[in-house]
Amino acid sequence: MSVLAQGQVGDPVLNSVVFGAFVVITLFVVYRVGSRGSSTTDYYAAGGGLTGVQNGVALSGDFLSAASFLGVAGAIAIHGYDGFMYSIGYLVAWLVNLLLIAELVRNTGRFTMGDVLAFRMRQRPVRAAAATSTLVISLFYMLAQMAGAGAVVALLLDVHTKGGQALVISVVGLIMVFYVLVGGMKGTTWVQIIKAVVLLLCVVLMTVFLLGKFGFSLTALMEQAAANNTKGEKILDPGVQYGATPISTLDFISLSVALILGAAGLPHVLMRFYTVPDARQARISVVWTVGMMTVFYGATLIIGYGASALVGSERILAATGRENAAAPLLAFEIGGTVLMGIVAAVAFATILAVVAGLTITASASFAHDVYANILRRGKADPISEVRVARITALVIGILAILGGILANGQNVAFLVALAFAFAASANLSTLLYSLFWKRFNTTGTLWAMYGGLGSCLVLVFFSPVLSGAPTSILSGVDFHLFPLSNPGIISIPISFIAGYLGTILSRDKADPAKAREMEVRALTGIGR
């Protein structure tokens, strides 16, 4: 059937050895640097002692999920230019973080997004909303990563039975939980750093090799890519994937908007800004991330077209994992089993590291926002708070494993784009309003968060993602009312409008003294 199933590509033993080496090295590092301190700052924010460069590399590690690496390279290999739009959106998105979010968030909060949002609002309702949104986004994001894990396992270890894949997913999930429990934020950060560096090196080497193979002529590479793609020359221009109907074009615009506005609202990205000592280091973090992203996403274009040129779109789509197999297959084509092993192991490590980052974020939000500030009304002692965070991490880890096993093989790639739409709708509007609009109040915050989150969920429920299209999750039923797969273009404005209306229509007044304090803190970092 597929090339991989015939066992012609890759060597499961070698792949396992490369991946095993990654796990052993990272476990060793996590053990060495891991904070055995039980303070909340140690566990959530690595003691606030990372340098901007370390955090910038770790941010790249957090952000470059399996969707970015395997997904974008595959999308370019199959759909050409339209796939490249993902690369551009993911990169430009960092400017929102750089200019409006990173430094101000670093100065106003301590551990979670809820810290910033609840700063001058009524603590309990706002923290509950922030925690809800953090948990929903993290779980969706995590499910997407874990669901992809099954496909990578099949590719990497040649395990094709569902039971075998479930076993491997469980083992991976347990390693991830171990990273988080032993290493806390510091250990998790080092996993991200190691992964980001290996991933980037790998991608750069493949790119240089590909360019060299085609005499450093982009035209030669692209012509070969078009020749080996069933869609031919069309892949070099926009419109292959999204240009068919006016609706799909609108869907494309909706996705593009959600991509650039979503990155600044992702809870696991926001939480990283607390690991550095001051705003200047937070800025340096983003500068480094932008640098690494530029190299990475520039390389995805070459790798994507390279996969089409050397492997061909038909072979990619026939392989286990379909689009996601483009990068590993290309690696085999240019570097044999060794490079294929490295690329597959790096992809697997990517899933592992991103899920670890999501787990620590979700557990921090539950322990800090829900347990310490809502249930204990800010009077929890740090030791029990960290204990709650660790227990939560364990529970989330188990949920991730179960989710990964259940979602294995499902069409859930949309979940990542959806997590971006959620983040842009629920979090970005509230963050910007509370940082820049004095009158913004508790009611406005709640309306914006629940309005954005709720409209996203409703629109997705009635979208072709769930029913009514050949690619829908549920087949055989059709209750779709909303034509777009990505709700961003509607739900993001809804969230901004709801925040505005909630603020001006409600009787509760913003606390002007707190608003002034927040302005001073956000810009200067005084008092932190």
Partner: protein
Amino acid sequence: MTQVVGRRAASSTAPPTPSATFGGIDGRAGTGGASGPDFDAIHRSPEFTVLRARFRRFVFTLTALFLLWYLSYVLLAAYAHEFMATRLTGSISVGLVLGFAQFASTIAITTVYARWARRRIDPAVARLHERAEAGR
């Protein structure tokens, strides 16, 4: 230069250093108002007002610019297929050049902002910090 940063009460607030020692003490952010620096006085000071205006003008302008530029690019890719498919040389199309121009502009904005913030924001913030410390 007038005295701008006063104090309300004796402080137990830790200085803004990376020290982790105060991390475990309070679980909440932004609740130290009563015993911290006098934020109202800082907020009123002309130094802060100027800094805030300068910061907002710069970042809002840059944000508007890059959003507009990105949206134009997305709309071109969505609706102007012919134009984007125009070949400049070999297989290099207008679309590809504009795509890489997004990369270039992102790098440019990042560089410009980082340099500007280092020269125009960091020193002003450091001065406000000194006053807040001195006012203790």
